[in-house]
């Protein structure tokens, strides 16, 4: 049987004002019928360009294109635009990352479906409507008839992505291309959507190319996986085999830098030896990875261009593996301990952040304007040298809390620094509490050199130091060469920029550093390196960290304590060690279960959230999580505020469930170690 999609020696070069750039080359891939091929790679690996090439919608100016792309035996590389129009949507469908921009805001969800069906099927209008309703039901949207009439802004992000999924499945295509379909969604929503796709794929038998930078997601869904680096496939084979025993040095490094749920139990550290970006212009080295490869041997690797060759169960582009060698995976450094102290440094009591002000009209009519309570009555304490992680999904108030603690957002409540009440917008607080922002592209002024960026906090907080020498020392502290001082941010890579942002925070010699999602946009190896750098800094300076993230995996490598936020409230605070076993708040349990990770040695119990979030302006009388809670125990959950339970010292859970019930929750992970099967309970 011919494969659903087949690429043979496909190469693509774009023309840019500074000369041709190699995007893809030597790509040979097959996707069998009913098969899901996962394509994983770091940012800049050209994985999205591959999807663009398959759907024949190349955004750049093509310099050269070679090879063939065949869809069920038909070569589509040379098809004219008119025939491609008939192909797209009907035979190949695509699901993009951002459903918010995929859907047209002025069309109803129903119009989207009817238009696609009308264009590609010969169905009569009434039959089209029936089919659209069927599709909406199929993707698990409640009340399809009402959904048809809604506009994209009236539904949630997860629901939008479900509609996009319905559009993709609408004309029963042979192949669906998924380009990071769950990356923009919250973990709990992404997990339900991934389940839905797996179910639909099994039912319809559609073939799919599933592109993601998140190896955990791909491990969940793909039958086979291809690893792309610098526009070439370096390793391809069955998913379990590749993730359990990566053979290519690049794949090995990639997997060694990913956190796993079992890390804390096994004392596993993260490898920080990331790959440098592959060369894109001029003469290509025989092996693209040779510049970053720890096993590079010129006498073997540089003899001729390295092509993928068949080794056991997989295709692999490595000259040494092809000769039958087994290359050892990189050794990760052991995790560093945090310099955790016993005295309280930063305390917050009853902190609330409210957005929106009473409108004039409402004030005149004596009515309250609905306000968004982003953070509600949060209290916590941060000890010297400790790392407190704030975890939650979008809209849980973690960033509002960070802004309040940075003095950027007004709030009610009390904040204390080393036992003295201090306001976050006071000079005393600013000198001791520094913030690192999420995106270094926007937190570093593009018009300033690094010397200016690092010099400003020195001028403000430590005017007595010799500035040029201190800037050089700061750059060195974050492992950047001192001559970077004259550079501008755009001359640096993403990871380097974030290091500069860290250096800027260090310049003030702070006692507390607030890290607002600082590793979210970074590749795994860079993230591992940044986390290690933070730990090193803590070890030398004794600074305490407030580490805000939505990624649970990385927590075990940076945090001492953990606070889980849901709709502005801290629903659980505990030691990081307590995360590995019950009790959990039901939301924490779902969050932990939804975060996919590549861990061949563990099984994850599935906990999925149903139901919708309450409106942000609503004052919920009961538990804020009641509408989605899988462990809902009755009317109490909806009507009265949950009590604060302390199943063990230093562990607080805001829940109606009794301590005994919370303790009786079965473990989320089953870890299989080499000698015995161990459960964590």
């Amino acid at each position: 049987m011919t494969p659903a999609l087949s690429l043979r020696d496909y190469a693509l070069h774009y023309d840019t004002p500074t000369g041709p750039v190699r995007i893809l080359d030597g790509i040979s891939l097959d996707i069998g019928r009913g098969e899901v091929l996962g394509l994983v790679g770091e940012s800049g690996s050209a994985k999205s360009s591959l999807a663009n090439a398959v759907i024949r919608d190349l955004p750049g100016k093509v310099h050269a294109e070679h090879g063939t792309i065949t869809l069920a035996g038909d070569d589509i590389t040379a098809l004219p635009e008119a025939e491609l129009g008939a192909l797209r949507g009907r035979r190949i469908a695509m699901v993009f990352q951002n459903a918010a921009t995929t859907l047209d805001p002025v069309q109803t969800l129903g119009d989207h479906l009817l238009e696609t069906l009308g264009r590609h099927t010969g169905l009569a209008p009434a039959a089209r409507r029936d089919r659209a309703l069927e599709l909406l039901g199929m993707v698990g949207l409640p009340d399809p008839a009402a959904m048809m009439a809604r506009y994209p802004h009236e539904v949630s992000g997860g629901e939008k992505q479900r509609v996009v999924l319905a559009l993709a499945f609408g004309c029963e295509p042979e192949l669906i291309l998924f380009d990071e379909p769950t990356s923009a969604l919250d973990a709990t929503t992404a997990a339900t959507l991934l389940d839905l796709f797996r179910d639909l794929q099994a039912r319809t038998g559609v073939s799919a190319l599933f592109i993601s930078h998140d190896l955990g997601t791909v491990a969940e869904i793909a039958h086979r996986v291809a690893v792309i680096y610098g526009g070439r496939i370096v390793e391809e084979g069955p998913t379990e085999a590749i993730f359990a025993g990566p053979k290519h040095p690049y794949t090995q490094a990639l997997l060694a830098s990913l956190p796993r749920p079992s890390d804390r139990l096994e004392g596993r550290g993260l490898a920080t030896s990331g790959a440098r970006p592959a060369p894109r212009r001029g003469e290509m080295p025989p092996c693209l990875f040779s510049a970053s490869c720890p096993h590079h041997d010129p006498s073997v690797c540089d003899v001729q261009r390295v092509h993928p060759s068949h080794v056991e169960d997989r295709q692999i582009a490595c000259a040494r593996v092809a000769r039958g060698e087994t290359l050892p995976a990189p050794q990760a450094p052991a995790p560093l301990q945090s310099p955790r102290g016993e005295t309280a440094l930063l305390e917050a009591r009853g902190l609330s952040v409210t957005y929106g002000r009473t409108a004039l009209v409402d004030r005149l009519r004596g009515r309250a304007t609905p306000q968004v309570r982003a953070v509600r009555d949060v209290s916590f304490r941060l000890n010297r040298g400790e790392t407190l992680a704030l975890v939650g999904e979008s809209g849980c108030g973690k960033s509002s809390l960070a802004r309040a603690l940075s003095g950027l957002q007004g709030f009610t409540g009390e904040t204390m620094l080393a036992g003295t009440p201090t306001a976050p917008d006071s000079a005393a607080w600013r000198a001791r509490v520094q913030t690192i922002f999420q995106n270094p592209d926007s937190s570093l002024n593009p018009r300033h050199t690094l010397a200016t960026i690092l010099g400003r906090p020195l001028k403000l907080f430590r005017p007595e130091v010799d500035r040029p020498a201190e800037i050089a020392r700061l750059l060195e502290r974050v492992h950047l060469p001192a001559d970077y001082a004259t550079r501008y941010p755009h001359q640096l890579s993403g990871g380097e920029k974030q290091r500069v942002a860290i250096a800027r925070a260090l310049a003030a010699e702070p006692d507390v550093i607030i890290c607002d999602e600082i590793t979210s946009g970074l590749d795994a190896a860079v993230q591992a390196a940044i986390v290690r750098l933070l730990r090193e800094i803590q070890a030398t300076t004794g600074a305490a960290l407030v580490f805000i993230t939505h990624d649970l995996g990385i927590l075990r490598h940076i945090a001492d304590r953990l606070a889980v936020m849901y709709l502005g409230e801290m629903v659980e605070t505990c030691e990081i060690a307590a995360l590995d076993a019950a009790p959990w708040h039901p939301y924490t349990e779902a969050l932990l279960s939804s975060s996919h990770s590549v861990d061949p040695g563990s099984d994850t119990r599935r906990v999925r959230l149903q139901g919708s979030l309450p409106k942000r302006t609503e004052d919920v009388s009961g538990c804020p999580f009641a509408s989605r809670c899988p462990r809902h125990i009755g009317p109490d959950c909806d009507s009265s505020r949950p009590p604060l339970r302390a199943p063990e010292p230093g562990h607080d859970i805001l829940c109606h469930l009794s301590d005994a019930a919370l303790n009786a929750v079965p473990p989320i992970w089953q870890f299989k170690t080499s000698d015995t099967t161990r459960t964590t309970q």
Binding site: P17, G407, N439, S442, N445, P446, R447, R504, A508
Partner: protein, 277 residues
């Protein structure tokens, strides 16, 4: 330097740059280049067409038009640039401060600029001249003030985008002064669109300045200001077209030159259409 090279690769930018260079050359070295005294009468050669002696012809007093244009370039072009600079600088500052501070300050400043923008800039300039008295420098000031609200609007809209970047939040969080945040963090990042708008407005300034002179409210005779030259020559239009056509063409060249330069700069400074890798 990079901008200049990119500008030369852009056809509009290159043409605009060439025309503007020509005009600036005339403005700076005009008096030295002028072959004759711009105010010397030649009664023997009134209303002469272009000839070897008078390359662009003469006017009703027999004054050499080429010399008058070259000498007049200084007052016309430099005054227009000055007027634009005043309008751009004042507008950018108001816009950035207003956009950054937001709230009541923004509301007051923007409603004021809205009110000013409701009046056509020529009428507004006339009003200011009526209050200040007519002179070339007052005309420049009037045009500068008339341009301010429009520039403020543009600078404000760019500032609203820039303000949401974290580097502004970072500056606020470390307690920087308002002057540093506005002057060093925001202003440099809003400058590209403001410069582009400014170059386009140079052409408007020249035309408004010429109009004011035409109405007798700017430069006074016998100054060889281009607008004034047209105003004076219109009585003699049916005797000879040259005294009107030559300064008219000069104004058109400057206007087109700066417009092209503005278009070119807009393309080059825009990262999306500029030299992206």
């Amino acid at each position: 330097m990079k901008t200049l090279r990119a500008l030369l690769r852009n056809p509009q930018g290159a043409a605009g740059l060439a025309l503007c260079a020509l005009v600036m050359f005339a403005a700076l070295f005009g008096p030295a280049l002028a072959p004759k005294d711009p105010e010397a009468f030649n009664f023997g050669a009134r209303f002469a067409g272009p000839s070897a002696e008078f390359p662009l012809g003469t006017d009703w007093y027999g004054r050499d038009l080429l010399s008058r244009i070259l000498v007049g370039a200084q007052s016309t072009v430099l005054l227009a640039l000055l007027a634009t600079f005043i309008g751009t600088a004042a507008g950018a500052l108001i816009g950035v401060v207003s956009g950054y501070l937001g709230g009541v300050v923004d509301e007051i400043l923007m409603r004021l600029t809205d009110a000013l923008m409701a009046i056509p800039s020529l009428l507004f300039a006339l009003m200011i001249l009526a209050a200040l008295g007519s002179s070339a420098l007052n005309a420049v000031l009037a045009i500068g003030i008339a341009f301010t609200p429009g520039m403020a609007r543009i600078a404000r809209s760019v500032t609203l985008q820039v303000r949401s970047f974290d580097y502004v939040a970072a500056a606020k969080a470390r307690g920087e002064s308002l002057a540093w945040i506005v002057g060093a963090e925001i202003l440099p990042n809003t400058i590209a669109p403001v410069i582009v708008e400014g170059t386009i407005r140079v052409a408007f300034a020249i035309m408004t300045l010429a109009t004011l002179s035409f109405l007798g409210l700017g430069a006074q005779p016998p100054a060889p200001e281009w607008g004034l030259m047209i105003a004076e020559a219109r009585d003699h239009l049916f005797r000879s077209p040259w005294p009107v056509a030559v300064p008219g063409a000069a104004i058109a060249i400057v206007a087109i030159g700066f417009n092209l330069l503005g278009d070119g700069l807009r393309d080059v400074l825009n990262p999306r259409t500029g030299d992206h890798a």
